[in-house]
């Protein structure tokens, strides 16, 4: 990798206020629903009222006749378009997701009919007039399938298994586990949740005859993948579709897949050649967008007497819902779980099987952290259980199993090579900070409330490049990113990238990276992203990739642009290009103080007075940069202090500490914001949030009164300490870090709860830990305690 030792790093590391904030605090952000189009029609969807069944009749006549209704379409009316996610593996069963359900419905909330009307009010009136007759079938909701009355969800997969991956095998694992001094056999579960971005999904499609384009504004993390999905579903070449993601009100993975409604809206516009918009309401978002996380881990882990793990065997089941999400397929979660379960530990022999089961629930999408919140919970609980059984200190057992500084680069039994991190350093620092903060004194207070501490350690691979993603064998393999950097005649810079920020502050951090290389203020650098007409192609924003890969490619382009500027400056200053430095908006000559030209003047000369330059064969000031690292591991230690009220079973997170290492920190404020927001989401799925269903498959959590997104009252202050192990895979030294907060929090909170309930023999291994769970543990623990007496 090229490094740029001589580049000044003045803006990187700076707590530069965010460029995005000014418009947002004025209400001048432009989200899809804010994009003006006064003529647009509004759509609404008639959705399946049942979880499973055969559609017998759909009567839309009354809806069509309603005044103000423009059109009503069923699947057949649109030509039965569909989306198909493909994984190129024998263990994968390819299934189709029709844009509108045709003959079968597979979950409650599945769209069947789309109504186009003059207003959203009328469209919803029309939905009430649609009569859908369905022969209801028993719903399949869990991994156990094939009950007497149950019918396959997809005929292609009679057993319901859409993907079955035996990722690693070791012939001697069974023997090793059988002979182990300690064998733990444990089951872990995580509930089904909804990422719940504050802006639900939305899109606005319009037909632009002049450009021969269908222009689709959509709230997405992946504009180019939406373009491909629309192009394939509608049979159009990609240039005929322009996808624009303006400001996006959060995504967290829910918007890194292509929603069928988005493609329907495009299809409707292509058909009626009129602007159409869809603003998903919260109930739709909760019950029929994309869910995440419903998983079960059956684990066998063997330890020797000294507490060293000798073998790990995992059988992982993911309830992926009714359809395989496009484009990355339902295999994302099982693949991640099986590949990365060992985490920061040397686990000895390793084998993992990971399956994705279809169910009559809402389809799932990768949600912030993607299986790692669960695998960290699994590994940290395994360590805690082994420590308890073997009588070893919890920190000490981690020390005995953790990949240490001298081990890097370390290649595990999962075939992954870990780049350097600070696993034990982070753990040691966190333990010290917990002590300093007086948590152990608080833990011991005897006032009727129960307090506990959870300290957990993990790493997460970030910024997966092409080679790493290629191993997953998705038909569409993300990885690289391309950025362009252009300087205009006034010396200001526009960066374009295929990333699609939605709260991560890219406009600020990319500007910092570029400004350092060009010797100008970041105020003069504007990032534009989220528009398929701005860049040839891009993979968007997910998987903690954007700053590393998108920002990395922008940094490469900026360095190349700097070289171009230096050549022109050298000619204008009659100096050697190698002696030119770009500092404070000027080109200066090393060793010749006072000899300088402003970058503005250079830019103006290149644009308007090319005739005065000898070296102008290339013309203008613009450069293209790429980045495609294999993917690097960030790491963190999280500590939670919780308080349980034994009367109510309620859990409060009193305090929270994070020690994190994401390599070179470009903007500490933004990194800390990502960590804090991530922790809040992790706590949410540990304690509060769960999409629950009745036995016949009716979702029970269709509003924010039932689906409990935490408020400020449930969210603790988070103290953050930074370690920096620079990454050698990237020009910037940065590692990805958008997901870590969410990954660590469930394990930290659950560990703290088990600690708080130490006198009640608690052994909680599932999230969410609701008050009901706590009260049950307290009741059982009290009984056991009394029996012992």
């Amino acid at each position: 990798m090229t490094t740029e030792a001589e580049a000044p790093t003045r803006w990187v590391g700076n707590r530069l206020p965010r460029r995005e904030d000014r418009r947002m605090v004025q209400g001048a952000g432009r989200f899809v629903g804010d994009v003006p189009n006064t003529h647009a029609y509004h759509v609404a969807f008639a959705r399946s009222p049942v979880a499973a069944g055969q559609i017998l009749t759909v009567d839309v006549d009354a809806a069509r006749a309603l005044r103000g209704v423009i059109a009503v379409f069923t699947s057949g009316d649109l030509g039965d378009p569909q989306l198909t996610a493909v994984l190129e593996r024998d263990e994968f069963v390819t299934t189709q997701m029709p844009l509108l359900a045709r003959d079968r419905v597979r979950y409650a909330g599945e769209p069947i009919v789309v109504v186009v009307a003059e207003s959203r009010y009328i469209a919803e009136d029309a939905i009430e007039l649609i009569d859908i007759d369905i022969d209801e079938w028993p719903a399949v909701l869990s991994f156990e399938q094939g009950g007497p009355d149950q019918k396959p969800i997809h005929d292609e997969a009679p057993d319901g298994v859409l993907v079955d991956l035996q990722m690693f095998t070791d012939d001697r694992l069974d023997e090793t586990l059988a002979e182990a001094h300690l064998l733990l056999e444990e089951t872990f579960r995580s509930g089904r949740v909804n990422a719940s971005p504050m802006e639900a999904r939305a899109c606005l499609a319009d037909w632009q005859e002049r450009d021969e384009q269908l222009v689709l504004h959509v709230s997405t993390q992946v504009p180019h993948q939406v373009r491909t999905g629309v192009a394939q579903a509608l049979g159009l070449p990609e240039r005929r579709i322009r996808v624009v993601a303006p400001d996006v009100g959060g995504g967290f993975g829910q918007k890194c897949v292509v929603g069928r409604e988005e493609v329907v809206v495009a299809a409707v516009t292509a058909k009626i050649r009129h602007a159409v918009r869809w603003d998903e309401d919260r109930q739709e978002n909760l019950i029929s967008s994309f869910h995440g996380r419903e998983q079960e881990y059956r684990i066998r882990a063997g330890f020797d007497a000294a507490g060293t793990m000798v073998g790990l065997d995992a059988d992982i089941s993911c309830n992926i819902g009714a359809y395989s999400a496009y484009p990355f397929s339902c295999a994302v979660e099982p693949l991640m779980a099986a590949s990365e379960l060992p985490g920061v530990y040397k686990v000895g022999r390793y084998a993992a099987r990971a399956r994705g089961f279809a169910s009559n629930k809402t389809p799932t999408a990768p949600y912030r952290g993607v299986s790692r919140p669960q695998i960290v919970l699994v590994m940290e609980r395994i360590m805690a259980k082994a420590a308890k059984r073997l009588g070893i200190d919890e920190i000490e057992i981690r020390r005995r199993n953790t990949i240490l500084a001298d081990d890097f680069p370390y290649t595990g039994p999962n075939g992954i090579t870990y780049d350097p991190g600070s696993y034990m350093e982070a753990l040691d620092l966190c333990v010290a900070e917990v002590k300093k903060a007086g948590w152990y004194e608080q833990r011991g207070i005897d006032d009727g409330l129960l307090r506990g501490i959870g300290i957990i350690n993990f790493s997460e691979r970030t910024a997966y490049g092409t080679a790493t993603m290629g191993m997953r064998k998705m038909q569409m393999t993300p990885g690289f990113e391309v950025s362009h950097v252009r300087m205009d005649a006034s010396g200001d810079v526009t960066v374009t990238s295929g990333t699609c920020g939605h709260g991560q502050g890219h406009e600020t951090t990319f500007a910092q990276l570029v400004a350092d290389r060009l010797g100008i203020s970041p105020d003069r650098v504007k990032l534009r992203q989220g528009d398929t007409d701005l860049v040839s192609f891009g993979w968007g924003t997910f998987g903690s990739r954007s700053l590393v890969i998108g920002g990395g490619s922008a940094a490469v382009a900026a360095r190349k642009l700097a070289d171009q500027i230096k050549i022109v400056a050298a000619e204008m200053l009659e100096a050697d290009a190698g002696d030119i430095e770009l500092v404070d908006g000027n080109a200066t000559v090393r060793g010749a103080p006072g000899t300088q030209l402003s970058i503005d003047e250079i830019a103006e000369t290149v644009h308007f007075r090319a005739h005065t330059l000898k070296h102008h064969e290339e013309y203008l000031l613009e450069a293209r940069g790429t980045a495609d690292p294999p993917g690097m591991f960030s790491n963190a230690t999280h500590a939670a202090l919780v308080e349980i009220d034994p009367g109510t079973g309620g859990v409060r997170v009193l305090d929270y500490i994070v020690v994190e290492d994401c390599g070179v920190v470009v903007n500490p404020t933004i990194v800390e914001g990502q960590v804090r927001g991530g922790v809040a989401q992790g706590i949410a799925s540990a304690l509060f949030e769960e999409m629950s269903y009745t036995p016949d498959g009716q979702p029970q959590t269709g509003t924010f009164m039932d689906y409990l997104v935490p408020t400020a009252s449930e969210s603790p202050s988070v103290a953050i300490y930074h370690l920096e192990t620079p990454c050698d895979q990237t020009e910037t030294g940065a590692k990805g870090m958008g997901e870590g907060g969410t990954i660590g929090a469930p394990a930290a909170v659950v560990s703290a709860i088990n600690d708080a309930l130490r006198d009640y023999d608690a052994d909680i291994d599932a999230v969410p830990v609701t008050p009901g769970v706590i009260l049950q543990v307290l009741a059982q623990g009290t009984r056991l305690h009394e029996e012992k007496l």
């Binding site: 206020p17 965010r18 995005e20 904030d21 000014r22 418009r23 947002m24 605090v25 004025q26 209400g27 001048a28 952000g29 432009r30 989200f31 629903g33 804010d34 003006p36 009010y121 719940s196 971005p197 504050m198 802006e199 639900a200 400001d247 996006v248 009100g249 959060g250 967290f252 603003d279 309401d281 919260r282 109930q283 939605h502 709260g503 991560q504 502050g505 404020t669 933004i670 800390e672 914001g673 990502q674 804090r676 927001g677 991530g678 922790v679 809040a680 989401q681 509003t703 924010f704 009164m705 997104v709 408020t711 400020a712 009252s713 969210s715 202050s717 988070v718 907060g741």
Partner: protein, 163 residues
């Protein structure tokens, strides 16, 4: 026939006459009829507070109020906070303390906080946390929002005391 009403309401100091269907929400009135798209809709059932605006100075959910209910009344939205190019103290504090990420919920938090700040509070951290618990944010974990509101409460109080 639609059930329509002629309504006069003052928004950010400017009077508007509008013909509104009785079921049209105040949020849609502001966003679609007046083009004030800073007020966002996050849940449309009164929980998330993204659509919080001030109705005669009191914070309300614009998704739970009909436009006709604002007849003859004064509405303040996020668009009223800045003075031209100059952001007000609360807007600046939200940025300084990283009280926003995606920015979608921010207008609601700003208007909720303005209403709270107009009561001349002390900026007690627990109280601020309780007040901003009226609204939902999915990005920040709330720490920056609480910091910003506490700081502005203290600063405005000091200013009042000095004067």
């Amino acid at each position: 026939m639609k059930d329509q009403h002629l309504v006069t309401l003052t928004v950010n100091g400017r009077e508007h006459e509008l013909l509104l269907e009785s079921r049209r929400t105040l949020a849609d009135t502001l966003r679609l009829d007046l083009g004030l798209t800073g007020t966002h809709l996050g849940c449309e059932h009164g929980i998330c507070g993204a659509c919080t605006v001030l109705l005669d100075g009191e914070p309300v959910r614009a998704c739970l109020i009909f436009g006709v209910q604002a007849d003859g009344r004064h509405v303040r939205t996020v668009e009223s906070l800045a003075d031209g190019d100059e952001l007000n103290d609360l807007q600046q504090a939200f940025s300084r303390h990283h009280g926003l990420q995606c920015g979608f919920c921010t207008p609601g938090f700003l208007m909720l906080s303005e209403a709270y700040l107009s009561t001349n509070p002390t900026g007690d951290r627990d109280e601020v946390r309780e007040v901003v618990s009226a609204n939902l944010c999915r990005c920040t974990g709330y720490q920056g929002i609480v910091d910003a509101v506490c700081e502005v409460a203290c600063a405005r109080r000091e200013k009042t005391t000095d004067a």
